[in-house]
Symmetry: C2
């Protein structure tokens, strides 16, 4: 089955990584894939363009089915391989609601992290403002506090949506990992840092760890002054 | 069943509206609800705060289950009431993949619409730049072209993910409606305008139409110069 899958991806991209974790968790190792370099702009290639009008990664194909949005690909994989590998969305209504809730809250954490760590990348030089970056930092600090509180409330050893690893972890871990990597002061989110340590060696995560991070384990310090 | 549901919402908010359309489609009329005014900052009230640490609407409760992110609430309702009312996520894998794909692409359309229509609302006066607004407009125009192309490709009378009304329409319609309302030139997205006309009188949509838009059918012209 995995042989009829093709993933175009780039190293270190949270949306790509979450699809890769989902593939691992659903025991779909052996899927075909093509690693494209962001730095060389390889993700803007004709192959991707042919499958994805947004010309971005991840671009994912399973047989004739193309599903490129990372959340969409993850939900599709869980639905198509429900009984295979890790069950990522529980049946119990209350558990399921919490998984969905944390999954979609991830967009807030991701955007707020980008708005600080990659501010200079996203905002052209003449349009940058100290006041905006300051506001972004405050917003990210508040967001981290929220997530740390969620983990605190659920107790030691919890995953993001309870006692089991779920789709909430699949989609959020590749964002959380940026905090230790980009030197976020650990006191900003001590529970998230414990969570990070608990998950970083999980087989699905280790198997899909960004290769350029393995070569260069130390990231830049964009979150040092948070 | 609907009697054990409680929705806090504000008029005209796309995230609130999509939960309301889902409730209508799933035949859950009769749910309890509380309309909070954005203008009066009512959505920052203690009742909402008690259920939603982000203190925002929608805030949604079903029995003891709280699920506030709009996409999460919509997926939860479909899952909990799968065989009731309209089936919003099809079983067929290819159809399902397309529904998920368009659902999550909606975030792009929504963000890009906000970045133009509400630029002055989001960006403090001293941080505004003509160059940024121009870039936002170009990005929105390209986004609209993409969606118009999706509808063009699927043919006249199609919904966003094919021949049936699905969750893609539930989550995206409340964003699309802003284009005619805020005077977007119809030639920017002729297929989306046809789609809008086809859907605006659908019972679930009509029943949940923002009350302050009924009082004031003409919106401001923030998208006039797109």
């Amino acid at each position: 089955m995995a042989q009829s899958m093709l993933l175009y991806w780039s190293s270190g991209s949270p949306p790509c990584w979450r699809v890769m974790i989902a593939l691992e968790e659903k025991q779909l190792q052996g899927y075909k894939h093509k690693h494209l370099s962001f730095d060389k702009n390889e993700h803007k290639c004709e192959e991707v363009k042919a499958l994805n009008p947004r010309v971005q990664v991840p671009t994912f194909k399973h047989g004739d089915i193309v599903v490129n949005e990372s959340f969409a690909a993850c939900l599709y994989l869980e639905s198509a391989f429900k009984s295979q590998g890790t069950r990522l969305i529980p049946d119990d209504p209350a558990e399921q609601a919490l998984v969905y809730q944390r999954m979609f809250e991830t967009n807030n954490l991701q955007q707020k992290m980008y708005d600080v760590a990659f501010y200079e990348w996203y905002v052209p030089e003449g349009e940058r403002h100290e006041s905006a970056l300051k506001r972004n930092k405050e917003s990210l600090i508040a967001e981290l506090k929220l997530w740390d509180g969620y983990l605190e409330e659920m107790g030691k050893g919890s995953y993001l949506a309870g006692k089991n690893f779920t789709m909430a972890d699949v989609v959020c871990f590749p964002v959380i990992v940026f905090f230790p990597r980009l030197h976020c002061p650990p006191e900003r989110c001590p529970r998230l840092m414990e969570y990070y340590k608990m998950l970083k060696d999980r087989p699905s995560i280790k198997a899909s760890w960004p290769p350029h991070w393995l070569e260069k384990p130390e990231g830049q310090d964009m979150l040092k002054n948070l």
